[in-house]
């Protein structure tokens, strides 16, 4: 991609959509915060002009819906104005969450691929396991996560690993399902051809099934990395709000600090973008090296 087409096909459209979101957001701020502001004014016995009222709805300390600039100011303060490793810094909290996410994602991807390979090759697994893997994901892990964390801390496992395990649990599923589909995606013709070489299942896996599954692999890794992040954040909630994006969300919501909550949400989204983009870029590089037609 040339620089020009990057601007035209990425930056400009994404920028426009983000601008539109911010505009809609501002449009919602006033009606969302107005009722409470009216109550406030009434109790305080003040009457204000429309302009004053509008400004007030956008400057509440604990608004129902914070205005974008309030969130931006909070972000600015908590990222650039403090040391990145201080406990007040969102960068520090993002890093805590990111490290659990990456560990969980790596384990989840490995587990998912292993399960998919097993399912594709062993009929007993295909029949007995796949339905239960699906069932496992219908269990609201988010409800069970606290119990798991408590259970694990009672046997002395604390810190990164419990969070990462919840990430693993959420991320192995998309990988497993996608890879089962991907490993089964080669042409019947190609499979027949490997048969005529009397290739071992291992060889068919390495030379045909795995390369053929790459598009599925990267598509499901994108879903999985996002799921991992959710897992890490959820895993942070029951640890007593010590560190991480999840703890910021929780701490913010104890005291109705909606601005903090939104700032933490945005920090989470930024981490998400970075992760998904990284997977996407690696996917593109791999696909080009595998001879894909470049547009």
């Amino acid at each position: 991609m040339t620089d020009h087409s990057f601007i035209k096909h990425r930056l400009f459209p994404v920028g426009t959509i983000l601008l539109a979101i911010v505009a809609i957001w501002y449009a919602f701020v006033v009606p969302m915060n107005a009722p409470f502001q009216r109550d406030l004014d009434r109790r305080a016995g003040v009457t204000s002009t429309t302009a004053e009222f509008l400004v007030k709805t956008m400057t509440q300390p604990k608004p129902t819906l914070p205005a974008p600039h309030q969130v931006a100011a909070n972000l600015w303060k908590n990222t650039l104005m403090v040391k990145p490793w201080s406990k007040r810094s969102l960068i520090y909290h993002s890093w805590i969450t990111l490290s659990a996410t990456l560990l969980g994602f790596a384990m989840g991807t490995a587990l998912g691929v292993a399960i998919a390979i097993g399912i594709v090759h062993i009929p007993a697994l295909d029949r007995s396991f796949l339905p239960w893997i699906i069932t496992s994901q219908t269990i609201p892990i988010i409800a069970v996560a606290p119990m798991i964390i408590v259970l694990m801390s009672s046997i002395g496992i604390t810190g990164l690993l419990p969070k990462a395990l919840i990430s693993t649990y959420l991320s192995f599923f998309p990988v497993a399902v996608g890879m089962v589909k991907g490993l089964r995606s080669p042409d019947v013709l190609h499979l027949d051809m490997m048969r005529t070489y009397s290739a071992t299942p291992m060889q068919t896996l390495w030379k045909l099934r795995l390369p053929a599954s790459m598009p599925f692999f990267f598509a499901s890794m994108k879903v999985a990395v996002a799921a991992s992040l959710i897992g890490a954040i959820v895993g942070e909630l029951p640890t007593g709000a010590v560190a991480g994006i999840g703890s910021k969300l929780l701490a913010g919501s104890y005291y109705s600090q909606t601005i903090d909550v939104f700032a933490a949400l945005i920090a989470g989204s930024v981490v998400a973008i970075l992760l998904v983009t990284a997977v996407d870029v690696i996917g593109r590089i791999v696909s080009i090296r595998m001879g894909a037609k470049t547009p």
């Binding site: 007993a124 007995s128 069932t135 994901q137 609201p140 080669p186 019947v188």
Partner: protein, 366 residues
């Protein structure tokens, strides 16, 4: 040809059984004779499965030995919670290995057992999960407030059906169904629009990827503020959660039609809509079903989590979060079981539909 055909599950099972001989009786209330009966059953299964018998006979022996031993072992825990010794667990392992052998025999012989085996095998797997859970929890005496045994959960399910039904009605029939349909449909429609206007797609996809990673924990309270504390706000969470997977998948699916097929449609000077309906939507179907399946689990989880925030005092998520605080873990697991059953049925129905609609896909012609 010898009469002997060893397999690794039976061999290991034999080893475990022999070890268990060193620790009879297994629990405080299990007498020696019932312990030896377990051992006899296990030996029968292990040796029987290594002889060259007909498949039917081998299956019969394995069913009797593995499930029989398991039943005796669990029965041996009556009034003896937490007293199981190492021999008990060796016996349990041996029975489980025979169960594994049974599953292997059944799936290997899939052809002559047909659909029966495709139902039987996963069921057996599930039964073994429950057996191990029950035996380990009660055998080692894990506190009830940490993990209740399945038997206690089953009792709770039968005594609390009306509560479960009310929660199901609130969470699934109202929030999940509505949110799932609206979210998937809007995702689909926006994808079609984005396909029409490249600009939208270029802008929406990255934003979509980012939004799908947004932790719902953050969105749920906001939705409660916007849509009230009843099911509408839960449905809104589900809408948000299901929208992006459908959007992203549909866009990818629409792009998946082959080069030559597109060229073919070009030569017909077909309109955008015609290409869409005749080529690109059918080609996108596997992707769309992928999204529908992902969404089916997401929707359930989303609705349940949303109920952790403001909610009326009914609903599966409400029940789970409050009963944990009341130490009624059996009720919590009853709700989790309900969620799992509902989710699995939903998923299964989608898988059947997928097979009917995308019958032509190579993955069904292995």
């Amino acid at each position: 040809m010898t009469l002997f055909r060893p397999n690794w599950q039976a061999l290991l099972s034999l080893l475990a059984t022999l070890y268990s001989l060193t620790a009879v009786p297994f629990t405080a209330t299990m007498n020696g004779s019932s312990s030896y009966l377990v051992i006899a059953l296990l030996l029968l299964g292990a040796i029987g499965s290594m002889l060259r018998l007909s498949a039917m006979l081998e299956i019969a022996i394995l069913v009797v030995s593995s499930l029989g031993a398991a039943a005796l072992l669990i029965g041996g825990l009556t009034d003896a919670t937490g007293t199981a010794n190492a021999g008990y667990f060796a016996g349990l392992t041996a029975a489980w290995l025979l169960g594994w052998r049974l599953v292997t025999v059944l799936s290997g012989d899939g052809r002559n057992l047909g659909t029966l085996s495709s139902l039987l095998v996963p069921t057996l797997f599930g039964i073994w999960v429950l057996i191990l859970w029950e035996a380990i929890v009660r055998g080692t005496g894990i506190p009830f407030v940490l993990l209740p045994p399945p038997s206690a959960i089953a009792v709770r399910v039968t005594t609390s059906t009306s509560i479960l039904m009310a929660d199901f009605n609130q969470t699934v029939l109202k929030a999940v169904l509505f949110g799932y349909i609206v979210g998937s449909l809007t995702g689909f429609i926006v994808a079609i629009l984005a396909d029409r206007y490249r600009f939208l797609a270029n802008g929406l996809l990255p934003v979509g990827n980012m939004a799908s990673a947004l932790p719902m924990i953050g969105v749920a309270p906001v939705m409660v503020i916007w849509f009230g504390f009843d099911w509408q706000s839960k449905a809104a969470v589900v809408v948000v959660m299901t929208f992006f997977p459908m959007l992203v998948n549909t866009i990818a699916g629409l792009a998946s039609a082959g080069e030559m097929e597109r060229d073919l449609m070009r030569t017909y000077a077909s309109t955008r809509w015609q290409s869409l309906f005749k080529l690109r939507l059918p080609a996108a179907m596997p992707f769309i079903f992928n999204a529908l399946k992902i969404n089916s689990t997401l929707a359930l989880i989303g609705a349940i989590v949303a109920e952790f925030f403001g909610t009326p005092v009914v609903g599966m998520g409400f029940r789970i979060s409050t009963e944990v605080g009341r130490m009624n873990l059996d009720m919590v697991w009853a709700e989790i079981a309900l969620a799992a059953v509902v989710g699995s049925l939903f998923y299964g129905a989608l898988a059947l539909l997928e097979r009917a609609v995308t019958f032509w896909h190579p993955s069904y012609r292995r």
